[in-house]
């Protein structure tokens, strides 16, 4: 399929079920909320080594937060609820509790409850107090700028999906980057999703396995331009000089599909003159992940892209 001069591969993204939660971080102003959110979602690109995948979902106006201050909503995903709980506790403890003026609240209210401020309260060394307000328990922990307020629990959805993706094949790095930036910017407007890699983009797409027995994943040689003439099977034609991948995690299957659809639409609208030649997707043959997002079905104007 070719649209606006860009080839859309007859391929699909293969994604996996994950556990996810949303946290709302507020602060004295947006800048400090962002400092905490950036730190909390740092080193959270892939569950392979980070324990979770996380990112900033969006900014929140004072009208949208429980305490009437500006805030940031972040999403955190893990493969298991237990690991997610561990990551939430560590990250909030090290990156929100520590950040001046911040408070943290649950951003999801259905599913299984996990600790948010429940264990962090012990930092208060006995001076902490709690209060049930509107049916929710909050902890007040004395800190050097006043007190750190944290909701006791947040809730986890088991419907989350991780690993939706698009492969952007372009003439050169500048064109690939520009395409990726445009697609990420468009997808960031959507709720319930994050793109956990730096800037939303990953340049080290991987395949399963390696020649080294201890490695579970290794470079996706079929998409490396430098191996076009060397790899046993390269996916790249002579016109492709650079490939970028955008990975999407969402709270539901529908959210991931909507994000991929928006990404595709944005990329196709920019046309082949932008240097983007092909759009593909990463999968493992469809045998590993239950969520398959077929590009041809996601292309704007066409119906559901999932099977």
């Amino acid at each position: 399929m070719e649209l606006n001069g860009i080839v859309i591969d007859d391929s699909f993204a293969e994604a996996f079920p994950m556990k996810g939660t949303r946290l709302v971080i507020t602060a004295h102003n947006l800048e400090w909320a962002r400092h905490a959110a950036v730190a909390t979602t740092g080193f959270a690109t892939s569950v392979i080594a980070c324990g979770c995948e996380a990112g900033i979902e969006r900014e929140l106006s004072p009208e949208e937060t429980p305490d009437g201050r500006p805030g940031i909503a972040i999403l955190i995903f893990s493969m298991s609820g237990r690991e997610l709980a561990k990551q939430v506790e560590k990250r909030v403890g090290q990156c929100v509790l520590t950040c001046p003026t911040t408070a943290v609240y649950a951003g999801l209210f259905e599913g299984d409850a996990i600790a948010l401020g429940k264990n962090l309260r012990f930092f208060g060394d006995g001076w902490q107090t709690s209060k049930v307000i509107g049916g929710q328990r909050y902890w007040r922990v004395p800190v050097m700028d006043g007190e750190f307020v944290a909701q006791e629990t947040t809730w986890v959805t088991t419907q989350a999906v991780g690993g939706g993706n698009l492969l952007l094949l372009a003439t050169d790095t500048a064109a690939a980057l520009a395409a990726a930036e445009a697609a990420v910017a468009a997808m960031k407007q959507l709720p319930n999703i994050v793109m956990p890699f730096p800037g939303g983009v990953v340049r080290s797409g991987s395949k399963v396995g390696s020649k080294y027995p201890t490695l579970g994943a290794s470079t996706n040689d079929a998409y490396c331009p430098s191996l076009r003439e060397l790899a046993a099977k390269s996916e790249l034609g002579p016109d492709i000089g650079s490939v970028m991948e955008i990975v999407i995690d969402g709270l539901t299957d529908t959210d991931v599909a909507a994000a991929m659809r928006t990404g595709l639409k944005t990329l196709i609208e920019r046309g082949a003159a932008s240097g983007l030649k092909r759009i593909g997707a990463g999968n493992y043959g469809g045998k590993l992940g239950p969520f398959l997002y077929h590009l041809h079905k996601l292309v704007p104007g066409m119906a559901e892209g999932r099977s």
Binding site: D67, G68, R69, A103, K131, P142, G146
Partner: protein, 269 residues
């Protein structure tokens, strides 16, 4: 539906103990069975039909009408359903209730909402001493739910209270929140002497005239704006003098230092 309206025929000579009456207890009974339902009048069991005119309702609520100021323990340990009282009530209104809703249009006697753990209790008039407190010998007073007093409260309001929210739209008597363990009390009017006597934790919001701060409390000006917004917005839902709380600042006094000092009197300025 299975609701009933019970209209008192005349004031009983002795105290009535209505603890056995709840929407659930009377649901599914015939009018005959309700009329034969026994309640204690002093030390004798009397049929409801002798005391009340009984009429079926189209909803499933339990309504009382008349001067019930000698009727005690209305809504005792209520778990679900709605009780409405059109008239003054006696002691122990809603004591030990864990759910449902009780609305009393006029005054209530002593120990209303004591050891209440959930649900909503609204008193249209004044309430006597020891509301939202503990039964004799008990360690914890009110431990959940919402108590609204549209009028004024007597002494020892919220004694040993542990959890929940209790709002007084009028004045509160002496020893407000004495020995309070935790929870929230908000008063829109004046507050009597010795507020927070022996309180360990918990918050007392003084939205009206500032009370005399006991000598065992210390002033603290640390920034608690986040917590205050959470609390003030929740209290503001109840309207009246509390509606403006989110826009007001608070002065905080910590105490009772004789009991650890983690409680707070929050004076709205």
């Amino acid at each position: 539906m299975s609701g009933w309206t019970l209209t008192l025929k005349q004031a009983p000579a002795l105290r009535l103990d209505l603890r056995a009456l709840s929407p659930a207890a009377l649901a599914g009974l015939s009018a005959d069975a309700v009329a034969k339902f026994g309640v204690w009048h002093g030390n004798e069991s009397v049929a409801l039909g002798e005391l009340f005119t009984i009429t079926a309702r189209t909803d499933d609520a339990l309504h009382f009408e008349g001067d019930l100021s000698r009727a005690d323990r209305i809504g005792w340990q209520l778990a679900a359903g709605r009780i409405h009282v059109d008239g003054p009530v006696g002691d122990y209104l809603g004591a030990g209730m864990s759910g449902g809703e009780i609305v009393a249009s006029r005054d209530a006697g002593l120990l209303a909402a004591c050891e209440m753990s959930g649900g909503r209790l609204e008193i249209g008039g004044n309430v006597g001493d020891h509301a939202a407190s503990a039964l004799p010998g008990s360690m914890d007073g009110m431990r959940g739910g919402t108590l609204l007093v549209r009028g004024s409260a007597g002494a020892r309001f919220g004694d040993r209270m542990r959890r929940g929210s209790a709002l007084v739209f009028g004045d509160a008597g002496d020893f407000l929140a004495s020995r309070m363990v935790a929870g929230t009390i908000a008063v829109a009017g004046r507050i009597g002497a010795h507020a927070g006597y022996g309180m360990r934790r918990g918050s007392v919001v003084c939205a009206g005239t500032a009370p005399a701060i006991p000598p065992t409390f210390v002033t603290n000006d640390a920034n608690i704006a986040v917590f205050w917004q959470l609390l003030a917005r929740d209290l503001a839902r109840h309207g009246g003098a509390f509606a403006s709380l989110p826009a007001r600042r608070v002065q905080r006094h910590l105490g009772d230092l004789a009991a650890g000092g983690k409680g707070e009197l929050l004076l709205c300025v």
